[in-house]
Amino acid sequence: MLKVRLRSVLTAALAAAVLLSVVTAAPAEAQPKEVKVAVIAPLSGPWARQGQLMQMGAEMAIDEINEKGGIKALGGAKMKLILVDAGDTAEKAKNAAQRVLAQEPDLVGGTGAWLSSFTLAVTEITERAGVPMLTLSYSDAITERGFKYVFQTSPTGGTQARAALPTILEMAQKATGKKPKTVGIIMDNTAAPVSFAKPMREGGLQKLGLELVVDEVFTPPLADATALVQKVRRAKPDIMLLLPTSVPDDKLILEKFNEFKLGQGRIPLIANGAHIGSPELLKNVGPQLLEGLMFIVANWGVKGQEAIIERFVKRTGEPWITQDSMTAYGDMWILKEALERAGAADSKKVAEEIRKLDLKEGPAALAFPGGVKFEPNGRRAGAHLVIVQWQKGKAVTVYPAELAVAEPIWPKQ
């Protein structure tokens, strides 16, 4: 009796799934030709906010593309966004990728999946299916696997660290007249900070003449930051690298710095990642604690992007655009450009065209300062680093000079 029931349950479940997918897919046939692209991002679970930000950016790009006449090379075909929830585990993310590929066999490409472990799992699927995936995940591992269909638009963690530190030291020297001698690191042990800190610990700091005097790693979420900041208070480094990855941990650490009389510029703080420039962090800790805090990101609202930002703010009600939205926006435009060049809604051809892209202007190039061109391993060539600083309650780009919308202010002790 059991095998019968089990089988019927299985078949029923599968039949239901098939039916649902048929129902959802059916209207597509009736409409004029569409080209499908996907955003695979966590829309539920602890990272839901980040997925939502990506969704907002991607939707804006799609609307703009379609308003301007869709994909011209395909007779004005509209681009259609397939939103896929990657959930809260790598298993769910991978299932999501497998599902979207099964249900949308004509998918030409996508972006995702925010968390680098999710991206790693998702790209295992898309790689085998030959569907190009764009990602802003920092982890070096993503493009170290020899994959052909993954494109990392952000500089990897390691690249960011190597590029950013000399710039920051220079800024410090210019402002204070002397070079920082000591540095401290507080970081969590997720993939992004780990790949950021690795080259620095392995001789990077030494080369810059810096001595590492505080080196603390924690597993998120943090319960209390006292023990961490106590060490900083003792060692008083000249600059401090703060590398947590979530707003709750940011809040605990920043407030503890303030409480221990180390905040508000007494020790220059350099952070990493988009979360530290998010409106929600501002809401959680207030402008006073953030003032002067600098952070390194792959992408931010820079000079030239004013129009995009204005449209985004108007559309979403968000106070400004962050990296997650901007990259998703740009990714859609990259796919659009590749589609125009490929002239066919075929994922492999699109991928080939992405590999050949060299965009210096247009919305895609605007979204990714430094232009869109990929190295053979899939990393964006010359992916610029942007340094942003909190100034009077806003996170503004201060470096590189050609993109900056404000002058950096180095705290003077």
């Binding site: 602890p46 839901a48 603390e216 209390d224 006292t226 979530s246 905040g263 929600e280």
Partner: protein
């Protein structure tokens, strides 16, 4: 100052922090311990009641204007306390319509006294609360804005965080009030009686169902108050309960299942171990230290620190 002097200072600072952090842990453990003590239910949704408490406190503080009226110092504390009654209602309703169906009299004679059903049921409730929270409250991390969380009182070499100190004080007071309630008032005593022997309690004219419901709702409320207090030091999102439910269970088991006093000291122990372990171990192993200490204590006292060890055959 010598190496030893520095260590002493670090140690005392960690001790202070551990006590302060432990205070709120203790309170949330007391909430969970109360539910287990009276109803013998393994409630995996307890972390999500903590989350509800955080949101309740947040909205009481901001939308209901308690902060605006009472100011940024008293306001958050008041909001934290008011989270209690709000979540009490939720707990009451959940017990009335769901939990009560697989606990108490309903669980007598069921396999493993209904624990299997209870575990799954509370896991289901946890899922609904977390994801319902996402729909209702959104994914933005929030916190109650108060200057207390970023300021401290300086006592000689030591810095004592204001928000945590106030939370600690309130947590102790709430725990003491609960203790007095259970020891002194007729309702509290009848709840203990219902916990000890539901059938006999019924013969005394005690409404056991209502006792269970009160205990469940009260347990949820106590944990929610702990959440409400934490909401002014930490920011939260709908899935935060998960981070705390394990801590809570560790604390309650450590203290001895069924003992309110034990739950309190269990929570306190967790806070202390968490902070003190950072003096000797890499910070990343903070939580490993908690679980190792947990296992050690349980090995030497298989019924927790305050559990009754008399086992009858």
């Amino acid at each position: 100052m010598g190496e030893l002097g520095w260590f002493a200072i670090d140690f005392l600072q960690a001790l202070i922090t551990g006590l302060l952090v432990g205070g709120t842990y203790a309170l949330m453990c007391v909430g969970l311990g109360m539910i287990f003590g009276v109803m013998r239910v393994v409630n995996f949704a307890q972390g999500d009641f903590l989350m509800l408490g955080m949101y309740a406190a947040y909205y009481v503080a901001t939308a209901l204007g308690v902060m605006a009226v009472l100011g940024p110092y008293v306001g958050p504390v008041m909001a934290g306390l008011l989270a209690g009654p709000a979540v009490f209602v939720v707990g009451w309703l959940l017990h009335r319509f769901l939990i009560g169906r697989v606990t108490g009299v309903a669980a007598v004679g069921a396999e493993a006294e209904g624990h299997y059903a209870q575990i799954i049921l509370t896991l289901g409730i946890a899922l609904v609360l977390q994801n319902g929270g996402l729909i209702l409250f959104g994914s933005l991390p929030l916190s109650i804005p108060t200057p207390m969380s970023r300021e401290s009182w300086e006592i000689w070499e030591f810095l004592v965080n204001q928000a945590r100190t106030v939370s600690f004080g309130v947590a102790i007071v709430v725990a003491l009030l609960l203790y007095a309630f259970l020891k002194r008032t007729p309702l509290g005593k009848s709840m203990r009686a219902a916990a000890d022997n539901p059938e006999a309690a019924l013969y005394m004219g005690i409404d056991v169902d209502r006792c269970h419901r009160t205990a469940f709702a009260l347990g949820c409320a106590i944990t929610a108050i702990a959440g409400g207090l934490i909401a002014s030091t930490q920011s939260f999102q709908p899935y935060i309960g998960f981070d705390f439910v394990i801590t809570m269970y560790a604390g309650v088991v450590l203290g001895g299942l069924g003992s309110i006093l034990g739950a309190f000291w269990g929570g306190m122990t967790i806070g202390l171990v968490q902070q003190l372990s950072a003096l000797m171990l890499p910070f990343q192993l903070q939580n490993t230290a908690i679980f190792v200490v947990f296992l050690l204590i349980i090995f030497f006292r298989p019924h927790g620190m305050f559990g009754r060890s008399a086992e009858r055959t």
